[in-house]
């Protein structure tokens, strides 16, 4: 018999309290249903807080002929057509509404001279479209959504980690986990569950992600039998800090390039002008001389944008190649220079970058260039969801935000994640509320909870000697070496072998101490999710034998139209990973016409 465990009942349980989870909770409360929100950390600390550059939505405030159809095209091209076109259509159409709604909730964006929301240029976006607050847009979003959610009184369960979804005849009816402060167990009974747990960038050594990004949502869904899609698509942000070592991987916002930042190699060459780096799809759309790029800063209507603003996958590969060719900086990066914009402008538009380099790197970015190198940033792949309702393939289970898949395809455009969480957070909230209104509460199955309690408590009794931190570090090294930006069959296979070996070793994890706020114990459970997620990423990367977006295979350097028409679906088969492919949903004639117009 299991120990006593607290039990809560909510019409909808939202797991995750970043932007997607909070927006979902708002929608559930707006629908008049009771809602529980589980936060792995304290409220307001989720990874959304680290988003910097802005939220992409075609408000058209900058005097450019922007609308949803241009945003739709940009997102499809950026995602290399692996995206679900219906998902992208909903996204591009609803993004402006969701951004304007934030102003009603209290967000205060930067303004244009006309007093409207100011929009900045970003990689892969045809027009200025990133609605922003300096370089701390994520903080503005999460605080705004937090305040709004608090005013609607859902029940917040802070510092609670959910480790298993509870099923009843194949339907999700609850969740089980533990409280960090006491280490005691907690169960939730719900008519519907929304996963909004973010990504899994913590699997890599150099990451821009916080400790929370351990893939919980994808693995909770996996264990419940849900389908995952395109897990090989892991985004490397072109510009992470490289020095000093303590901050290696920390994000340097794309906003720096949006504000005119220039990339140079150690020879002083502005290498993004190298025609070798210009993809076919973008030829003729970017400045072809440094003079034109300089003129663009002042006159965006009559000049083309600098090639530093190509999509992230393109710029990240270019930096990788420059460093590989021996044209890197002292610490193995390239230079990113924004000094020509002047100290006042930089401090106003990029205040957190100024502070970050000043406090942590001893660099004054108003006078010195930054050193940057690609860092793991975002996961395009994730839980398969229906674009209309965000329902997963398991009844009663919904997902939104970074843990879900379908919007970004093979490469996410900067700024699209912040509007992703708003648009699909709301839809997941509404979808789950509609489901909850029809579904009954079910009795929670003791045996499922007992099984998970045993998994959780095992490290206290395990006779083994493995340290959860050591396994985490070894996994991060394996993924950094084998499943990074440039991939090969051999490297991926070696990586997979190491991951499987670490999975075996993880069965012998032993931790000391008690259950109250014990980080070693927390890590022991997190690492299980991380190891399985890593295995799936690597298997999918081995499967996709082509280069597309974030998936860059040195042994298959070209795009393959056959692979370009397929999403890879992963599903649990006992302990094994079963991979299949499914055709990418086709565009209807109206959406297709949007591309013909341009031609």
């Amino acid at each position: 018999m299991m120990e006593q465990c607290e039990t809560f009942e909510h019409d909808v349980l939202v797991i995750g309290a970043g932007g997607a989870g909070l927006r979902a909770a708002i929608a559930v409360r707006d629908a008049g249903l009771s809602c529980g929100v589980v936060c792995k950390s304290l409220l307001g600390k989720a990874h959304t807080v680290m988003a910097e550059g802005g939220a992409a939505a075609a408000l058209g405030n900058m005097g450019e002929p922007d609308d949803w159809s241009v945003h739709f095209r940009d997102t499809m091209i950026g995602g290399q057509f692996l995206n679900n076109p219906r998902t992208v259509e909903i996204f591009a159409k609803e993004a402006p509404l969701r951004v304007l709604e934030l102003e009603e909730y209290g967000a205060v964006f930067d303004r244009t001279p006309e007093g409207l929301i100011a929009e900045r240029p970003f990689g892969g976006h045809t027009y200025r479209r990133l609605n922003h607050v300096g370089d701390r847009t994520g903080l503005e979003l999460i605080r705004t959504l937090q305040d709004k959610a608090v005013s609607l009184h859902p029940s917040f369960h802070m510092e609670v980690t959910v480790t298993r979804l509870l099923l009843d005849s194949g339907r999700v009816v609850g969740a089980f986990g533990y409280r960090r402060d006491t280490g005691t167990f907690v169960a939730f009974r719900a008519r519907a569950v929304v996963l909004a747990t973010g990504g899994w960038g913590r699997m890599y050594k150099y990451t821009s992600n916080s400790w929370e990004s351990t893939g919980d949502g994808a693995m909770l869904a996996w264990d419940a039998g849900a389908e995952l899609m395109d897990m090989e698509m892991v985004q490397f942000h072109p510009t992470g800090m490289v020095w000093p070592p303590g901050v290696r991987g920390l994000l340097v916002t794309e906003g720096v390039r949006g504000e005119g930042g220039i990339l140079r190699n150690s020879r002083g060459e502005r290498f993004m002008f190298n025609p070798e780096y210009m993809p076919e799809a973008y030829k003729g759309k970017f400045a072809e001389s440094e003079e034109e790029a300089a003129r663009w800063l002042e006159d965006k209507a009559n000049n083309r944008r600098p090639p530093e603003l190509l999509p992230r996958d393109v710029v990240a590969r270019a930096i990788y190649k420059e460093v590989l060719a021996g044209r890197g900086t002292e610490h193995g990066g390239v230079y990113l220079d924004v000094t020509h914009r002047g100290a006042d402008y930089i401090r106003r538009k990029l205040p957190s970058m100024y502070e970050q380099f000043h406090a942590l790197g001893d660099i004054d970015i108003t006078r010195q260039p930054m050193e940057v190198y690609p860092t793991i940033h975002y996961t395009m792949g994730g839980i398969w969801v229906d674009p209309e309702t965000c329902a997963t393939s398991v009844p009663g289970l919904f997902a939104a935000g970074e843990c879900a898949a379908g919007l970004h395809g093979a490469n996410r455009l900067g700024g699209n994640s912040l509007t992703d969480i708003l648009v699909f957070g709301k839809r997941a909230g509404e979808g789950s509320a509609a489901h909850a209104a029809r579904a009954e509460f079910a009795r929670l199955d003791e045996s499922q909870m007992e099984a998970e309690a045993a998994v959780l408590l095992d490290p206290f009794q395990n006779p083994g000697k493995e340290n959860p931190y050591t396994i985490t570090m070894e996994l991060q090294e394996a993924m950094q070496e084998g499943a990074m930006i440039a991939r090969t069959q051999e490297g991926l296979q070696q990586c997979l072998d190491r991951v499987l070996e670490l999975q075996k070793r993880s069965r012998n994890i032993r931790v000391d101490g008690g259950r109250a706020y014990n980080p070693g114990w927390h890590t022991a459970r997190d690492i299980k999710f991380m190891l399985k997620t890593s295995e799936i990423i690597v298997r999918c990367a081995l499967e996709r034998k082509e280069s597309r977006g974030a998936q860059w295979r040195l042994d298959y350097p070209d795009k393959n139209p056959e692979w370009g028409a397929k999403n890879i679906i992963a599903k649990a088969d006992g302990d094994a990973v079963r991979l299949t492919t499914r055709p990418v949903p086709e565009m209807g004639p109206e959406l297709r016409a949007l591309f013909e117009e341009v031609k």
Binding site: K45, V49, R111, I117, V150, S210, L360, D512
Partner: protein, 266 residues
């Protein structure tokens, strides 16, 4: 910098505890949070601390380093080592201890619930039009990352434990962001004067000095709010006009001058 340094970290619960010394390896750019992580990974995985972003953006890793309230992720070890290569790290003092460096900050979340959200007149034209100069100040306040270090250092909360009477600097800043929002129409002064307890602040500026986001908590938020409260409640001329005309207490603009006396409003 020294190759190895010593960290004295508080270990214990609300029932008691003591400092424990750990030796850690240093590396360039190392921050105190790196040292804590090294201890967790290599020496004692039960050492409890909060952290998320490690980039001074989330405000989770607040602690007292050599007695000073600081974010551990932003505090370089070479800046805090004494001549013996030692640093002490304690939990924040103002909130009840859970374990080691983790405290129970839930009081702050309860205060946040008491503050009414942005309230815009229904007939305000959409989309909103606001000039940058009119939102600069509000944006300064909205930079707050809720590390609660200002709450920790505030002597009203820290030394006098008047959590029953004063919301603390964090929530003065939050109310200021709403009160000075160009489109907010709610009168927030009654709350400031009564349950908010703005009169408790006697402008020692301890909070302003240590804000990791460099928000001018006292100068730009608390003092102007005090002026508005004083304007509404203690200006004899305005009180007279109000009585004659029967006008409600207005919302703005802020009146001139600093409040003369700062006695507790209770």
């Amino acid at each position: 910098m020294l190759e190895r340094i010593k960290l004295r970290v508080f270990r214990g619960t609300s029932e008691g505890g003591a400092d424990k010394a750990y030796e850690v390896r240093t590396f360039p750019g190392m921050v105190v949070l790196d040292a804590i992580h090294q201890i967790q990974a290599e020496q004692d995985s039960t050492l409890a601390c909060r952290w998320n972003c490690k980039a001074a953006k989330c405000g989770s890793c607040s602690a007292e380093i050599n007695g000073k309230p600081r974010l551990m992720c932003k505090s370089r070890v070479e800046d805090y080592c004494d001549e013996n290569g030692e640093i002490t790290v304690h939990p924040v003092k103002t909130f009840p201890l859970i374990r080691d460096l983790v405290t129970d900050v839930s009081w702050n979340y309860r205060k946040a619930e008491q503050i009414p959200p942005l309230t815009v007149a229904p007939d305000t034209p959409r989309p909103f039009r606001m000039q940058q100069v009119d939102v600069d100040r509000v944006q300064e306040f909205r930079k707050c990352i809720e590390c609660f270090l200002c709450q920790d250092v505030c002597h009203v909360l820290r030394d006098h434990n008047r959590k029953d009477g004063y919301f603390g600097p964090r929530f003065m800043v939050k109310i200021a962001a709403l009160e000075m929002h160009p489109l907010d129409v709610l009168n927030r002064r009654e709350q400031l004067r009564n349950e908010g307890g703005i009169g408790f602040c006697n402008i020692t500026k301890c909070c302003e000095e240590l804000c990791p986001e460099h928000i001018h908590i006292t100068d730009n938020a608390i003092i102007p709010l005090k002026e508005r409260v004083v304007d509404d409640y203690f200006d004899p001329l305005k009180a007279l006009i109000r009585r004659i005309r029967g006008l409600p207490r207005g919302k703005r603009p802020a009146g001139p001058g600093r409040p003369r006396s700062e006695s507790s409003p209770r």
